[in-house]
Symmetry: C2
C-alpha cells in the first residue's frame, strides 16, 4: 500500500512539476530560470499602506500588489494608480479583519453573509472562525462582491489571492469558489504546488467545474514568519531568499507601509505585521542592495499580468 | 389670508417657544439661562478625529460627540472611551460619504439599500443624491443598522443626529424614521426649532406615530460656515458665538481632528472641513480663552444625556 501511495505521490509531483516547467516556459523562460513576483499584500488597508506600496513599486523592486476592497482606502488606490496603467494589481480576497481598533465587514452586507461576521457585525478575527462559521455560498458571494467592487472603481484585477490564506485554510469548497470565480472573470488565482496537492488533488470531484489544466501553479510562495522577524530579522531573510531562490515561478509576499501614526494605531493588536515590520519591507525593497541582489542572482521579475495572458 | 397665516405662524412659534422654555426649565435652569452643548461631530471618521476629539473632551470644553458607524475607526472609539463612562456620545447617522479617496457604504449592505449607494457601491456624495435615490424604507433600515452597530460594540448612544443633515434635508419621511427610531430606542434625536416648523408641523399626519410632545427641540444649532471660515475665521466666529449666545438650549457643532497626514489624505476633496479646519476647532476648544468665554458669559454646559433623562 505504501508503495502504491508513493507511486501516486511521485506521479502527482511529476504532473505538477511538468505544469510548473510549462508555466515558466510558457512565460518565455527556461525551466532553470529563477522567476520572481515581489508582491506587496494589503494595499488599500490604509493611506500609509497605499502611498508606501505605490512608492515601493515606482522607486523600488516591488512589482505586484493586491487590494483589500472592504477598506475605505481602496478608492485612494484607484486614484493613485491612474497614471500607472501597466500596474500589476489583484484583489486580495479579505474575509477577516484581524485588527482590534480598525474593523470592517463584508461588502456583500452582513445580512447577506451572516456566517462571515461576528456578533459585533464585523468580519471574524481569524481564518479558523471563518472556516467554522461561513458557508461556501457565503464565501463565494463575498469573493464575487470584492471582485465586482474593484471593477466598479475602475481597477481591472490581474489576479486573485487570499488575505491570511483564509480561502486556502478553510474548507475545500472555499477553494472551489476561488478558482471558479477566477475562471469566470478570466484572471489567474494564486495557487501554490503544496496547496494544490493538499486541497485540489484529493477532491477532484469537488473541482469538476474547474478547468484544472488552466490553473496556474506557483512553485514557491515565500513569506517572512514571525519567528524569522524575531530571530534573524527581515533584511537577512530577504537576502537569503534572493541568494537561495529556486528555479521556477516564485512569489515573495511582503507588506509595505510607513511606520507612521495611522499604521501604529491600526496595528496595535500584535507584536508583528505592524508599522515597523511594514516600514522594514519598504526600506529593503527600495534599497540599492535589493536591486543588486536581483542582478547578482540573475533573478527575473515576472508579473501576474504576464501569467494571466497565457 | 395673509392675516390668518401670520396668526398661525405666531401660534406655532408660541407653542414651540413654550416647549423650549420647558426644556431649559426641565433641565433645572431658568428660561433666561444660556445653555450650550459643544458637540464634536464625526468621531469615528479617522484615528486622527478620534484621538483629537477625546483629547478635546478630556482637556478642553467639548462635552458631546456623535459617532460615524460606517467607518472602520468606530471601534477605536469604543476602546478609547472605556474609561469615560459618563461620556455623551450619540450616533451621527451617516448616509453619505463626501470624500473622494476614503469611501464607505451602508452598514445594512448595499444590496439591502440600493438607493443609498452609487454605481461604485459606496454612499452618495451628498444629501441631494440621497433624497433623489433613497426610499424612506431604506433610510429607516440604515438608521436602525447604525444604532444597532453602535450597541453591538458597546456604545450606549445618548442621542441621534444627522451627518450633513441628510436626514433633515431629504424627504419628510426620513425625519419620521429618525424620530420614530429615537422614540423606539428611548434616546433624544437632535431637532431644532426651525426644522420642526418646516418639516414636522406642516406634515402632522405623516408624524402620527411619533409622540411629538416628547421631541426635544433645541433653540439654536450653530455651526461655522465656509463663508465664515474664509472671512473672519474660526476663532473670531466662536468668540462671537460665546459672546452673543441666546438664552435657551443651544448646540454648537464643531469637527475636531489633528491636521496630520491621515486627515490631510482624507480631506483632499474640499478647501473646507479639512484637517486645518478641524485642528482649528481643536485649538480653540482646548484653549484657556474658550474656558474664560464660557465663564464670562455665564454659559452653562448641558449634555444630551441630561436631555435624554427628561
Amino acid at each position: 500500500m505504501k508503495k502504491l501511495s508513493t507511486f501516486i505521490l511521485a506521479f502527482i509531483i511529476f504532473q505538477v512539476n511538468a505544469q510548473q516547467r510549462n508555466l515558466a516556459e510558457k512565460l518565455g523562460y527556461s525551466a532553470e530560470d529563477k522567476l520572481l513576483i515581489i508582491h506587496a499584500d494589503d494595499i488599500g488597508l490604509a493611506h500609509s499602506e497605499n502611498i508606501a506600496t505605490i512608492e515601493a513599486m515606482k522607486k523600488g523592486i516591488v512589482n505586484s500588489t493586491s487590494i483589500m476592497m472592504p477598506s475605505p482606502w481602496a478608492t485612494e488606490v484607484a486614484e493613485l494608480i491612474k497614471d500607472m496603467p501597466g500596474l500589476d494589481i489583484g484583489v486580495h480576497i479579505t474575509l477577516t479583519d484581524e485588527w482590534f481598533n480598525y474593523r470592517w465587514g463584508p461588502l456583500s452586507g452582513k445580512n447577506a453573509v451572516p456566517g462571515l461576521v461576528g456578533k459585533d457585525g464585523y468580519f471574524h478575527f481569524d481564518c479558523a472562525a471563518v472556516a467554522q462559521n461561513a458557508s461556501p455560498e457565503e464565501v463565494e458571494k463575498e469573493i464575487r462582491a470584492q471582485i465586482d467592487a474593484a471593477l466598479a472603481i475602475g481597477i481591472q484585477p490581474t489576479h486573485l489571492d487570499s488575505h491570511m490564506g483564509c480561502v486556502f485554510y478553510g474548507r475545500p469548497e472555499f477553494v472551489v469558489s476561488y478558482l471558479k470565480l477566477a475562471q469566470e472573470y478570466g484572471i489567474p488565482a494564486m495557487m501554490v504546488e503544496g496547496l494544490f496537492q493538499q486541497v485540489v488533488v484529493p477532491n477532484k470531484e469537488l473541482f469538476k467545474e474547474i478547468n484544472l489544466d488552466q490553473v496556474k501553479i506557483i512553485d514557491n510562495v515565500l513569506i517572512a514568519s514571525t519567528e524569522i522577524y524575531d530571530s534573524i530579522g527581515l533584511p537577512e531573510y530577504y537576502t537569503n531568499v534572493m541568494n537561495e531562490l529556486q528555479p521556477g515561478v516564485n512569489v515573495l509576499l511582503i507588506h509595505v507601509a510607513y511606520d507612521d501614526e495611522e499604521m501604529k494605531a491600526i496595528t496595535t493588536r500584535f507584536d508583528h505585521w505592524h508599522g515597523k515590520w511594514r516600514q522594514g519591507d519598504f526600506d529593503f525593497f527600495t534599497s540599492e542592495k535589493a536591486k543588486k541582489l536581483l542582478e547578482e542572482n540573475n533573478i527575473k521579475l515576472v508579473t501576474w499580468k504576464e501569467i494571466g495572458k497565457l
